[in-house]
């Protein structure tokens, strides 16, 4: 390990066995950069660092970079997504491999989704089991035999990556329905620039501010051919949705209108907004509403968030939806296990990014293994998000293990299991302790696919599990984040 800096902020810093400490690991590609970073950060005293921390928090509050929950208080409990000032560094040589791998993986997923809604060749060739796909609740029969403009389905993919103690990156999961978090990447970068500006001069960091431009370009690239200058909108469930900040931020950054379902209506299979001057046609919708709520005429009839007739307009090619409905078929954690095979099948290439070994509970031999080794495994529901429902074997009591066994046996298709990955740790400033401690970390990346366009945000959202020893990094479960620097080399 690198030597600990002589700063009181690193008093009693500890290293865990079999854990990759990204900051202190000797001879890792980022070692020299962390050396430089630490020497700069430790010029601040603990008091000064605390003040910077508070300043960053206050700037988030002032800008309204918050997420709110409304369960306890009708006016909403607004919270700042906890943010740590020590950035995560990924050298360009390391990043380039990740980026290539992300483009490859998400392109393959796109082909997969297209195939499933057309000829299902991959099922006929028995590369992916047919019962797995047919039993997926996110399979959207309304998408059968329809091809969206540009043949793109997962325009925006949020691929979650971890670094294991072997120093390699692994994909933890694919999120191709409505992945969120990119606004925090941009907000974090702004906060960093204003708080520890002097540190920036010592590194050549790739900017992240090009994301809104890339996103808008992607939206334009998948417009219908019949339209010249597409009217793009962002469809939000509204100001009471916990991710509303991100919706309004992205709309504003792209200069497009932020709309709610009630601002839209369909007429003659075209979609229009209700403006003060009358109807205005809409061509591309970046929708942050789940499939189920999109169109009460086709999906959930009780949805007040969607637009009646939207799917009809979509199928007629009169409006495009980002991401396409029905992409959840590739989001399914049981399907995840086959993604490496999916890459080989459609692209004829070896997958660059590795999967975590995954056991399907609905396959008899794999279920026996899971039941036998439950105490060493992580069990996840196939269709949840936000880190909910995750069972971690080595942190559970005997009773909890038995309960979990009963749970998965009652619904085997609903669960998968994976070995406990040793997520890397990163030095994080712990408020109550006034010093840095290692905390587990992951990386949410953002890949954009358009018609003949591919873009990966250089960096992403490094999410930190703030609770000591915890492996759950999601914001809804008390996670925090760090700025991620891809260093130009």
């Amino acid at each position: 390990m690198l030597n600990l800096p002589k700063s009181e902020m690193f008093t009693d810093y500890f290293f865990k066995d079999n854990t990759f400490d990204e900051v202190f690991k000797l001879n890792s590609p980022a070692s020299n950069y962390y050396n430089r970073l630490l020497s700069l950060i430790t010029t601040y005293s603990t008091e000064e660092f605390k003040i910077l921390n508070e300043y960053a928090k206050k700037s988030f509050a002032n800008r309204g970079v918050t997420f709110a929950t409304y369960s306890d208080n009708p006016r909403g409990n607004e919270r700042i997504f906890p943010f740590d000032l020590l950035p995560r560094i990924i050298p360009q040589t390391e990043w380039d491999v990740l980026e290539k791998g992300l483009k490859q993986r998400n392109r393959a997923i796109n082909f997969f989704i297209h195939d499933l809604y057309h000829d299902s060749k991959i099922l006929k060739d028995k590369v992916v089991p047919i019962d797995l796909v047919l039993s997926c609740s996110n399979l959207n029969r309304y998408m059968k035999d329809f091809t969206p403009p540009g043949e793109v389905y997962n325009h925006i993919s949020g691929t979650d990556i971890i670094k294991h103690n072997d120093g390699n990156y692994y994909v933890l999961e694919d999120n191709v329905r409505c992945p969120s978090g990119v606004s925090y990447v941009l907000a974090n970068r702004e906060a960093m620039k204003k708080t520890i500006s002097s540190v920036f001069y010592n590194f050549n960091i790739f900017p992240v501010s090009d994301y809104p431009e890339a996103l808008l370009e992607m939206m334009h690239s998948v417009k219908s051919d019949k339209v010249d200058n597409p009217n793009c909108v962002l469809l939000t469930p509204g100001a009471y949705n916990s991710a509303y900040y991100e919706h309004s931020f992205l709309a504003q950054s792209m200069g497009i209108e932020l709309v709610e379902g009630r601002d839209l209506f369909t007429d003659n299979d075209f979609v229009y907004t209700r403006t003060v001057y009358g109807p205005k046609r809409v061509d591309v919708i970046y929708r942050r509403i789940d499939d189920d709520f999109l169109d009460p005429l086709v999906f959930r009839p009780d949805s007040a968030l969607g637009v009646p007739g939207l799917m009809s307009a979509y199928r007629k090619g009169n409006v495009n939806l980002i991401n396409a409905p029905g992409t959840g078929i590739a989001d399914d954690k049981a399907v995840y296990a086959y993604v490496p095979d999916i890459v080989k099948y459609y692209l004829g290439e070896e997958p660059i990014l590795k999967n975590v070994p995954t056991y399907r509970c609905d396959v008899k031999e794999e279920m026996s293994y899971v039941l036998d080794k439950m105490a060493e495994l992580v069990v996840k529901p196939v269709d949840q998000s936000g880190g909910y429902g995750i069972f971690i074997g080595n942190q559970a009591t005997k009773a909890e293990i038995e309960d979990q066994k009963k749970l998965i046996q009652s619904n085997p298709r609903g669960y998968i299991a994976q070995p406990t990955m040793s997520l890397s740790v990163h030095s994080t400033f712990i408020d109550g302790e006034n010093k840095f401690e290692p905390r587990h970390i992951d990386l949410r990346t953002f890949t954009l696919l358009g018609a003949d366009k591919e873009y990966v945000l250089k960096g992403g959202l490094s999410r930190v599990a703030l609770k000591k020893g915890s492996l759950i990094v999601n914001s809804s479960q008390g996670g925090g984040s760090k700025d991620t620097w891809v260093i130009e080399e």
Partner: protein
């Protein structure tokens, strides 16, 4: 411009303006009442603040600090100053993408200032600090609106909301003061106190210096009412604000005909009738004239709603 967005902007303008008026009214009424010679006068001052904000409170056994808290920081009170700021901020938040970042952040900081102000400080020694800083925040928000927004529909709807609310509050303050004066008359304390009350009205509207300059004398009932209703060149007169409501409406739809029955025609009719009135016409029953004007302004609001916000 989406109808929903226009609606939110209109109300954002109204709530911002409303909160500023309430804050100023609270500040001026409270501090001017501290050295009044009679306790009934202090009580009347507090009652008028409650009335201005719209709170019905049994004040018999209520402590002054609790009354002030109810007016200012009570989040459970839908008409408190905090609630006005919260509502305006929710409006702004719902249409963030049609505002500039500068306007949003300024309004958000205003809201954070009010919502995190310590109640114990407010109740004991913080009223001046609270009201002064709140007024400063409003000035910043309005400055950002003025300097960072392009003059499109978003700007116009915001301004219409502001001007409408300002006209309403000017009239309400005058009506409130006439009620105060009537109550004070019963105490038979002399007419100099009545003149002092008109000073207070002008202070509440930041109009005292200009009124004095305009008349080259100290304010009286008639010249104060005249000034605040009909002075076309002064931003805190009803005539000025109604005129700007009309101007902004015309800017939203420049090509529309002003046919009888149209929104612009109805508004123009009211404003022009108002333009050519003078205090001589109604000086025997000023409150009645004020009430009638208020009704006309509410009518204008309704017509704007029907034209642009119903969807």
């Amino acid at each position: 411009m989406l109808s929903r967005v226009a609606d939110n902007l209109f109300w954002m303008g109204r709530y911002l303006e409303r909160s500023e008026h309430f804050v100023r009214f609270l500040k001026v009424q409270y501090f001017s009442s501290i050295d009044l010679p009679y306790p009934q006068m202090r009580e009347q001052a507090l009652l008028s603040v409650l009335d201005m904000v719209g709170i019905e409170l049994n004040t018999d056994n209520a402590k002054e600090s609790d009354i002030l808290f109810s007016v200012g920081l009570d989040e459970n009170n839908p008409v408190s100053i905090l609630s006005s700021v919260f509502n305006g901020r929710e409006n702004a938040r719902s249409v963030r993408d049609s505002l500039s970042t500068e306007v949003w952040e300024a309004f958000n900081k205003y809201y954070l200032f009010v919502s995190t102000y310590p109640a114990d400080v407010y109740k004991t020694r913080g009223l001046d600090d609270f009201t002064t800083n709140a007024i400063n925040h409003c000035a910043i928000v309005k400055g950002k609106i003025h300097h960072t927004l392009i003059r499109n529909e978003a700007f116009h709807f915001l301004q219409i909301g502001k001007h409408v609310e300002r006209a309403i509050q000017i009239i309400r303050i005058m009506l409130s003061k006439m009620t105060d004066i009537k109550e004070l008359d019963k105490l038979k304390l002399g007419s100099s106190l009545e003149l002092q009350q008109w000073n207070i009205v002008l202070d509440c509207l930041e109009a005292k210096d200009m009124c004095r300059k305009y008349y080259h004398s100290l304010p009286t009932k008639n010249n104060t009412v005249d000034f605040l209703l009909f002075t076309h060149d002064f931003p805190v007169s009803v005539a000025y604000n109604l005129d700007y409501v009309y101007r902004h409406l015309r800017l939203i739809n420049k090509t529309k005909d002003e046919k009888p029955g149209s929104l612009e025609f109805k508004v123009g009719k009211i404003i022009n009738t108002f333009r050519y009135q003078e205090i001589e016409d109604f000086k025997d029953d000023i409150p009645l004239f004020l009430e009638q004007t208020l009704d006309k302004i509410y009518f204008i609001c309704n017509e704007i709603h029907n034209e642009y916000f119903k969807y």
